[in-house]
Symmetry: C2
Subunit: 221 residues, 2 copies
């Protein structure tokens, strides 16, 4: 029941990728993990041997039930640590990812459950991503849409940023767009799909299409 750091990272990456496409390819995963396809193939064999993966040569792969369960526990650890680092240790939401990335691998179930209690069972991390509970279940989530799909002049609340690169987070931090921030789309420019926003009912801010796509807001019709 104990997996190496490397294996845990593979499981987590596969989990995230298959949530987008259903099935994952070797090259895709290699890119996500900043490693080589040959290394991925090696590891896939091991994960399959440990019955965490559905995989046939040349056919792509995905997690089975057990693999998904393990991945969710790691994600739980990651997000609870992020919450702790921001809420208790006063780190910025854009600087906690790497730290959580390490801590998640050295946190036994008992420890993370106590941390969860200490933090009072938060439902989402500082980036707005949902935190699985002790059994690996997500809370009922609000329906999310990305900013380009939000109708003009409807005010919505930022729920998450995805993907969360250091660079995007830095940019949003600077423009005062955080989880929970109120946003209204004032104008869409078809020339480059950039958007002009009203942030927190006050400042006017312009963002590119790329940035807009990464901002997820609530969609309550």
């Amino acid at each position: 029941m104990k997996y190496s750091i490397s294996k845990e990272n593979y499981l987590k990456a596969i989990f995230h990728l298959q949530n987008e496409n259903g099935v994952v390819t070797t090259n895709e995963l290699a890119a996500a993990l900043l490693t080589k396809p040959a290394s991925v193939t090696d590891m896939l064999k091991k994960l399959k041997a440990q019955r965490l993966l559905i995989y046939e040569k040349y056919k792509g792969f995905k997690l089975n039930n057990e693999g998904r369960k393990v991945a969710l526990q790691i994600i739980r650890k990651h997000r609870l640590w992020e919450y702790f680092l921001v809420e208790k240790l006063q780190f910025g939401w854009d600087e906690v990812h790497e730290m959580a990335e390490e801590l998640e691998h050295f946190t036994h179930k008992k420890l993370i459950d106590r941390l969860d209690t200490f933090l009072n069972y938060p439902k989402s991390d500082p980036h707005g991503d949902p935190i699985p509970d002790s059994n690996g279940k997500f809370d009922q989530q609000q329906k999310q849409i990305s900013l380009p799909h939000l109708s003009l002049h409807r005010t919505a609340k930022v729920l998450a940023i995805s993907p969360q690169t250091k660079e995007i987070l830095e940019l949003l931090q600077h423009k005062n767009i955080l989880i929970g921030t109120k946003i209204e789309v004032k104008k869409k420019f078809s020339f480059d799909d950039s958007l002009e926003l009203k942030v927190n009912n006050r400042t006017a801010v312009t963002i590119s299409a790329a940035v807009a796509k990464s901002i997820l807001v609530n969609d309550d019709q």
Copy 2:
């Protein structure tokens, strides 16, 4: 400036051993790390090559300044995590060692300094061991003596337990002997050097010589 988990554990173990004897031997260290002398020799070469160690073949070894500095930072991390686990997550003092043992290797300086602040700069961990500050300095410590050296009928306070095996901690927990507990030696039996104690001015408790040696109390004459 980044060392492997294994190297960090070697440095920490050498630090503790040389505090008792000045110089450390291969067999001694192998026993402390539950590994083989041959493995120790291999690692010593690497640590020497990295200039963390003073070492000549067949002559024993000890940390140099740099090695000591690194060891102290790891010990700081370990003890702060222990404090956190007991004070904030409500673990027992006898169950936090293993967890801290893992976390200590994945905690960057910036993180541990913030944790220190969050915990309000504790001076010692749940076992009474002093926590080095951000620069690796210990606070002025009270002079400690082990229980067999405490004069009869003088009340003293438990400052630390050393060494801290799971087994001793469990035994002491059971007998209600904790850091801070008041102890008076009522009787010394020369037959087996066992002691009869009064604990917290109330209960009478008998402990063996082995246990007594591991209990450190304050020595203010």
